[in-house]
């Protein structure tokens, strides 16, 4: 799904993946209590009820990380650590996971957090009658059972090796909400969320600010450090950065499209740039049922005409990291050979010549400065290979329905940062899936996807996913431009902001010097 920043990643891989900078957790004892932290966000949060909002966007993730807790969290090395769950274990076939929950935890409304609450959170999202968009990410979980007050058992249809890591992102699927609260508040629950987290929602004016106050009864004694967190939607990137400079905001969300300000902040000793290299990528799908993309020569030419390093220079002063597969450096899927087609403008021209007809098509582009810039650069790169792309600007809400109804020739999409590639890869490429945008069907691809899904062995799965990447790259039904990289900029006085795992800016453990 498009702009939903979510990300997970397997622990051991973070040891491999490098991080550019960031204030990482400092030793205990240095923390200072008190004060207010103001966060400048990109988007106006619609709410927290999964049935209403479906999936959280990046701004909602930040709020959710403060109001709610997840069962599992990640430590500085990216290893799963206990949070609301104290311990976990799995069956030999990885089809069952059992979690022991932390005793004595209460929601902000005073009701107890227990196995029943976990089950109710899950059941509500899974219930087909609720038609929750959030059900997409829990499709492989068959059921959740409670064996006693503090033990929950997750049952899976296929082996789920990375389950604890997938539970760490503060998404609508993972955060624990108070069943009593959503039942009693009904329609109003969405904007009056109740969790177990370190901060309690005090007030919220749509479009202006959300004020979170310290939870005095938080189960993790001594935390949190700040008295108050204020989340403000500052939609304009320029004035958001200006607000950081002038002191209205202590920390702001940013992205590589705003490269000038990121580069400026990196040189400014009063500012700290937080960045995280996630898995997944910005991707594009072509409709293989219609000309010109029903011809593999055209598809390959389109990909081979892409000069990603140059494109990165143009769109983000070189900050964007080129992608040659859908997994990225942040993923545990590492391929010796991902089958990426090389940049070869001459070969692209030859393929187009071989095709014989003029290649013209329309690409959907989001009507944002970012969308326009990327669209124009792609157009330019393809023009050099003799391919004519016309930009069709539409708003975000138009792209999704048009993609699902296959009313496009080429559309942008995103593979988001998830700890396991399966949910997205299966949905994006298996025959018959609503998200299989390319309309492309290949028994071999289906077989590999099914095998990767039903295998527990990590090496075999890696091999499957690399084979999948080779197949897709060769057929060029989708292509990838840049890997996901996340940015936040803060005042240098802000400390204790963890790495932006899963692309989430989590300020719930921060303090100000």
């Amino acid at each position: 799904m498009k702009p939903v920043g979510r990300a997970h990643a397997l622990a051991r891989l973070f040891l491999v993946a490098g991080f550019v900078s960031a204030a990482s957790a400092t030793p205990a004892g240095a923390q200072k209590s008190g004060g207010t932290l103001t966060v400048g966000q990109e988007l106006d949060i619609p709410g927290f009820d999964p049935l209403k909002v479906g999936v959280y966007d990046t701004s909602a993730n930040t709020a959710a990380a403060a109001i709610f807790d997840t069962l599992v969290t990640l430590n500085d090395k990216g290893e799963p650590q206990p949070k609301l769950a104290l311990s976990w274990s799995h069956s030999d076939d990885f089809k069952t996971w059992t979690f022991k929950l932390r005793p004595g935890v209460k929601f902000h409304d005073g009701t107890p957090f227990n196995a029943q609450a976990v089950k109710e959170n899950f059941d509500r999202q899974k219930d087909p009658a609720n038609k929750c968009r959030c059900a997409f990410y829990i499709s492989s979980i068959i059921s959740v059972q409670t064996t006693d007050d503090l033990t929950v058992v997750y049952n899976f249809s296929d082996p789920s090796v990375n389950f604890p890591a997938t539970q760490t992102i503060q998404s609508s699927n993972n955060v624990m909400q108070s069943p009593t609260a959503w039942k009693t508040k009904g329609d109003d629950y969405n904007r009056n969320p109740v969790g177990t987290g370190p901060y309690i929602l005090k007030s919220w004016t749509a479009g202006d600010r959300m004020v979170l106050e310290k939870n005095p009864d938080y189960w993790d004694k001594g935390k949190p450090y700040l008295d108050r967190i204020i989340l403000k939607p500052l939609p304009d990137a320029q004035s958001r950065f200006a607000s950081l400079q002038s002191g209205e905001a202590d920390i702001i969300w940013d992205d590589e499209a705003d490269a000038d300000n990121i580069l400026k902040a990196q040189k400014d000793s009063k500012l700290t740039v937080h960045t995280y290299k996630g898995s997944g990528a910005a991707v594009y799908a072509v409709n293989t049922k219609n000309p010109p993309f029903d011809d593999i020569r055209v598809r390959q030419a389109v990909v081979m005409a892409l000069d990603r390093p140059k494109m990165s220079q143009a769109v983000s002063s070189g900050l964007s990291r080129p992608a040659s597969n859908p997994y990225g450096d942040g993923s545990w899927v590492k391929c010796k050979d991902d089958g990426a087609l090389p940049f070869d403008i001459e070969k692209a021209k030859a393929l187009i010549k071989d095709y014989g007809k003029p290649v013209e098509f329309k690409m959907l582009v989001t009507a944002t400065p970012r969308g326009r810039t990327v669209g124009q650069v792609l157009q330019q790169l393809w023009k050099r290979a003799g391919i004519n792309m016309e930009i069709e600007q539409v708003d975000q809400a138009t792209i999704v329905p048009r993609a699902f109804m296959r009313q496009f020739q080429m559309t942008p999409w995103r593979i988001v940062d998830l700890a396991d590639p399966d949910p997205q890869m299966y949905a994006n490429f298996h025959t018959g899936s609503p998200v299989a945008l390319a309309n492309y069907s290949d028994p071999e691809l289906d077989r590999l996807l099914e095998h990767a899904r039903s295998t527990a062995d990590i090496d075999k799965r890696t091999e499957d996913y690399c084979a999948i990447s080779r197949l897709i790259n060769k057929q060029a039904i989708w292509f990838w431009t840049f890997q996901n990289t996340y940015y936040a900029i803060s005042n240098a006085k802000v400390k204790g902001v963890p790495k932006m795992f899963n692309g989430v800016l989590d300020v719930s453990t921060a303090w100000k010097e």
Partner: protein
């Protein structure tokens, strides 16, 4: 007079009905099936059909329109499918912000425009007059999205006099509220004063040519008295008009300024509703705003009738 008021009130009814039809049609025209927007990855054909049925999207448009109108007549404007906020909640939260912004902007605009207009009218054709008329166009051709960010850089980042973004309700802290409002209001006012100045200037120049001014001059009245009392006073009616028009135009038109300065106003609400296809909010808010505009015009008309008796007997 009573008859005049009644007739004007009666006239509002068809206008409001037409506004509601237009609102509904425009909202329905927006591309992107709402069911797909809500369902996202879960958009299987069965789910889409079921949701469309639940939301009544499978009914013909006129049936949906009357259903919506019937609810509104009962005072129920509906709820956002995304946020769960009711239209009335959303509007009552946001209208004060936009309203204050408009009033404030208009006041600054008048404060710049009126003195300049008087000065220019007094010396029409002089170098000063030409310079000011020229700068007025200069300001007109600086788009607000550029002047906004320039003002932020100057007053918030460099001089640190005013905050760059944000908002505090007036009731909470009047001083802070004004500090937050200065830059956005100034940005709008920079685009407003040229219009005010132009209209008032030409009006006054015309007035200064009238016979009674010549008479006043002949009687030996002080030039300043002629300028302010005899020329400005008749032009004040014009001023009321432009101010009214400007405020009306600003309703929902402040979205750029609201976006850049992160003000929680009505413009951002509406544009956000379009982008997320939050049709209930869009229809409800547009209808309320349009009704507000129509009613304000009605009030301006009434004011006129009070100020100028010719209108209520004339052809208005």
């Amino acid at each position: 007079m009573l008859f005049f008021v009644a007739r004007r009130l009666l006239y509002l009814v068809p206008v409001l009905i037409a506004v509601s039809v237009l609102t509904f049609v425009i909202a329905s025209l927006l591309p992107g099936d709402l069911a797909y927007v809500i369902l996202g990855d879960q958009a299987t054909p069965e789910n889409v059909a079921a949701l469309r049925h639940d939301m009544g999207l499978d009914l013909p448009i006129w049936q949906r329109y009357f259903g919506w109108l019937w609810q509104i007549l009962q005072g129920d404007f509906g709820r956002s499918f995304r946020t769960g906020q009711t239209v009335l909640q959303a509007v009552s939260e946001r209208v004060p912000v936009s309203f204050e912004l408009m009033i404030f902007a208009e006041l600054i605009g008048l404060a710049i425009g009126v003195p300049l207009a008087i000065a220019c009218a007094a010396k029409a054709g002089s170098a000063f007059d030409r310079l000011m008329t020229g700068s007025a166009f200069g300001m007109l051709s600086v788009p607000t999205f550029l002047s906004a960010i320039l003002l932020i850089y100057l007053f918030a980042v460099e001089l640190r006099w005013l905050p760059a973004t944000g908002y505090v309700p007036f009731t909470e802290d009047p001083i802070a509220n004004l500090r937050f409002m200065v830059l956005p209001a100034l940005t709008l006012a920079l685009a407003e004063w040229p219009g005010i100045m132009r209209v008032l200037r030409s009006d006054m120049i015309a007035a200064l040519q009238e016979d009674y001014i010549a008479l006043a001059k002949a009687k030996g009245l002080k030039p300043s008295r002629i300028l302010f009392v005899h020329a400005l006073k008749p032009s004040s009616l014009t001023l009321v008009t432009i101010t009214g028009i400007n405020i009306g135009r600003l309703i929902g038109g402040t979205v750029i300024v609201e976006t850049i300065f992160a003000l929680p106003g009505i413009g951002r609400l509406l544009v956000g509703a379009i982008y997320t296809r939050d049709l209930i909010i869009l229809q409800g808010v547009v209808l309320l705003v349009a009704a507000g505009f129509v009613i304000m015009n009605f009030i301006v008309d009434m004011l006129y009738a009070v100020l100028d008796p010719r209108i209520r007997h004339g052809h208005a």
